[in-house]
């Protein structure tokens, strides 16, 4: 029986690349997000290229009422999930309207966490299943440019670490992914982008990490070293820098 993958935030370029890779190897897919028409297109492509089933379910990180429907769409058998949701308003927009913090934290942390909390018993009951949580290198250190987004992702990283601690006891697994810059609509045209990775390469890294049951990965890999350096800068100096 094929495994099922739930993709949260299925209109993101990373999720679309992942859907292609999953279809090619014959996994069933649940595409979850808000742009139904867009996800229908991805689902049709997946069905034509090898997915035994590809269905669309409405998921809104800010509307927990949509969560159960996504879980139900997965049906029986081993259920895996990959989380691509998140939002990153300009820090200046947040400075002007601090209430934007709530949405950012819900999209990038508490919404997906609440969903995964509902999925966890399913994985435990199946005795198998993998969660891929896409965080961000921005969660490794608070920076002047996007510290609200970074804080939400840091919270998500910690949540994933705890979830891994829990699910590993029943045969499940959790991969924390920290992508650097990915060539997506989010980074298109933003100044100062470098070493931008294609979403297809990121999707490959994710599936490899799930297969090898890696705990925390950076993608592309070299971000591990970049972030090791950034983390090692003493706060006394870091607070005056703008990296």
């Amino acid at each position: 029986m094929p495994e099922t993958w739930i993709l949260l935030g299925a209109s993101s370029s990373m999720a679309r690349a992942m859907a292609r890779a999953l279809a090619e190897r014959g996994d069933a897919i649940v595409l979850a997000g808000r742009d139904i028409a867009d996800m229908e297109a991805t689902a049709a492509h997946a069905r034509l290229t090898g997915a035994p089933s590809a269905v669309v379910a409405r998921f809104d990180a800010r509307d927990p009422g949509t969560f159960q429907g996504v879980l139900d769409a997965a049906g029986d058998g081993v259920v895996n999930a990959a989380v691509f949701v998140g939002s990153m308003p300009d820090q200046s927009a947040i400075d002007a309207d601090p209430s934007l913090i709530d949405g950012t934290v819900t999209d990038s942390f508490t919404g997906p966490a609440r969903f995964l909390q509902m999925l966890a018993p399913v994985i435990e009951a199946n005795g198998a299943g993998c969660v891929i949580g896409v965080g961000s290198v921005a969660g490794d250190r608070g920076r002047i440019g996007n510290y609200v987004y970074g804080a939400a992702k840091a919270g998500f990283h910690t949540y994933l670490s705890g979830l891994r601690n829990r699910l590993t006891r029943s045969g499940g697994h959790v991969v924390t992914v920290k992508p650097g810059f990915v060539d997506s609509a989010m980074t298109w045209g933003i100044e100062g982008m470098f070493l931008v990775a294609p979403p297809e390469a990121v999707a490959r890294d994710l599936l490899k990490a799930a297969e090898k049951r890696r705990d925390v990965i950076y993608t592309p890999f070299f971000w591990r070293y970049i972030m090791a350096i950034i983390r090692s800068i003493p706060e006394r100096m870091f607070k005056k820098m703008s990296v």
Partner: protein, 435 residues
């Protein structure tokens, strides 16, 4: 929509533009963009000259809208987004027994680009042009209105081969062609000279036919080359590995005349004197150069030009004279193609006409651009036509004389894009939209 300011170029890299590019990932963002700040579409930029450039302006890259939306195995009709590449479609559909009905020389060309240039392939003599297999187009007009157009809509013939001037193509329904499988059975034959080449092309009854021509061979060898005739088949063969890339711009001497001459002779002799039949993966037959990613860098930073014209059957002697001019110059690169075309075309600005088409690549040097200028005049005198997907150098008056439906097309285009929001460097250079 966020815009990225960048320098970009067509495949020939001789012409470059700096401008703002958007790259929508969803249909809804493309529609919003066309409503608020309409701009011409570009695909994978496999046209050679400036058809895909908009200097100082905006352009919309459709490459992220690249999904197959539906497929009906009973009719063979596939609805696909404009950014899907023909190579991807071939890879996905061939194992199911279907192929895009027309495939140009590179699998990296997008569906949107194939429609906008009404491209042709190695089966043009039988199957006609790409646009003849398009059942419907979903077009977003400047201003944001979405239209579903079919061949009976007057806008259809203005959009197919229409250089992106009617709006941005979002998706299209394509009638695929049945194939036996994903391998090709190819017969390769040495051709000793010009007359024999035309004779062989005229007599070929293969589905796919193309001639490689040694554009450096002179005298008695003029027009020598290799004729390739192919049919699809089924079977099990080893697929090629990952494509290799050209890592940097090559120095100027990489394609010096002496090197090309040696290469061409070796390439010619590669096929045994008595010919041979080989079996290869479809992509090796249709897209031989895609094996080397970024091969255009072999021409160095200066880039290159491709001259491609078609002349009517009865004016074949004029084409022979053009080849002679090319051979005398010693400027040609190994990439030269001779093919017989049928009459099939689907748009007012479509390139094909019944006749012989010759395509030759030249490194971008002053002598080569002068030569291409002379060849253009020759093509016009022979009642021929220059292919706009390749053109970077022509004069507007020449091109306008070659495309008899140009004025009617301009009228149709100006009606849906009165502000000229869709114009590109090519359209302005050749002044194609003036009435």
């Amino acid at each position: 929509m966020r815009w990225k300011t960048t320098e970009y170029a067509g495949w020939g890299r001789a012409l470059r533009a700096t401008g703002n590019l958007a790259r929508p990932e969803r249909l809804s963002s493309l529609t919003a963009l066309m409503r608020e700040e309409p701009a011409p579409a570009i695909g994978n930029r496999r046209s050679y000259g400036d058809a895909c450039l908009n200097t100082g302006g905006k352009a919309v890259a459709t490459v992220r809208l690249d999904r197959i939306l539906s497929f009906d195995p009973d009719t063979g009709v596939a609805e696909v987004e404009a950014g899907a590449t023909l190579g991807d479609l071939a890879t996905i559909f061939a194992p199911m027994g279907w192929l895009p009905a027309v495939m140009p020389g590179t699998g990296f060309a997008t569906v949107g680009g194939a429609i906008a240039h009404d491209v042709h392939g190695k089966n043009h003599h039988g199957a006609g042009s790409f646009g003849q297999h398009v059942q419907a187009i979903t077009l977003i007009l400047p201003g944001g209105e979405t239209r579903h157009i079919t061949p009976d809509d007057p806008l259809f013939a203005a959009t197919v081969g229409g250089l992106g001037q009617t709006g941005v193509i979002a998706s299209a329904a394509l009638r695929l062609l049945k194939c036996k499988g994903d391998v090709m059975i190819v017969t390769e034959r040495r051709i000793g000279g010009w007359d024999e080449f035309l004779d062989r092309l005229d007599r070929s009854d293969a589905t796919y036919t193309v001639g490689w021509i040694d554009a450096t061979a002179k005298g008695g060898d003029l027009g020598r080359g290799i004729l390739e005739e192919g049919e699809t088949g089924s079977g099990l063969i080893t697929r090629r590995g990952k494509a290799r890339a050209v890592p940097f711009d090559a120095p100027g001497f990489a394609l010096a005349p002496a090197v090309v001459k040696v290469f061409n002779t070796a390439y010619y002799k590669r096929v045994p004197e008595r010919g041979r039949t080989v079996v290869k993966p479809i992509e090796d037959f249709f897209f031989p150069l895609d094996k080397i990613r970024d091969w255009n860098r072999l021409y160095g930073r200066e880039g290159f030009h491709q001259f491609q014209c078609v002349v009517p059957i009865e004016n074949a002697p004029a084409l022979r004279a053009m080849l002679e001019r090319i051979a005398q110059s010693g400027l040609a690169s190994p990439l030269a193609v001779l093919k017989r075309m049928g009459p099939g075309r689907a748009g007012m600005m479509s390139f094909p006409m019944e006749g012989y088409t010759l395509a030759v690549d030249f490194a971008n040097r002053a002598r080569a651009t002068r030569l291409i200028g002379e060849l253009e005049a020759d093509a016009l005198a022979a009642d021929g036509r220059i292919y706009l997907a390749k053109d970077a150098l022509s004069k507007g008056a020449t091109i306008r004389a070659m495309y008899p439906e140009r004025a009617a097309w301009a009228e149709a285009v100006n009606a849906v894009d009165p502000d000229g929001a869709m114009t590109t460097d090519l359209v302005r250079r050749l002044d194609l939209r003036s009435l």
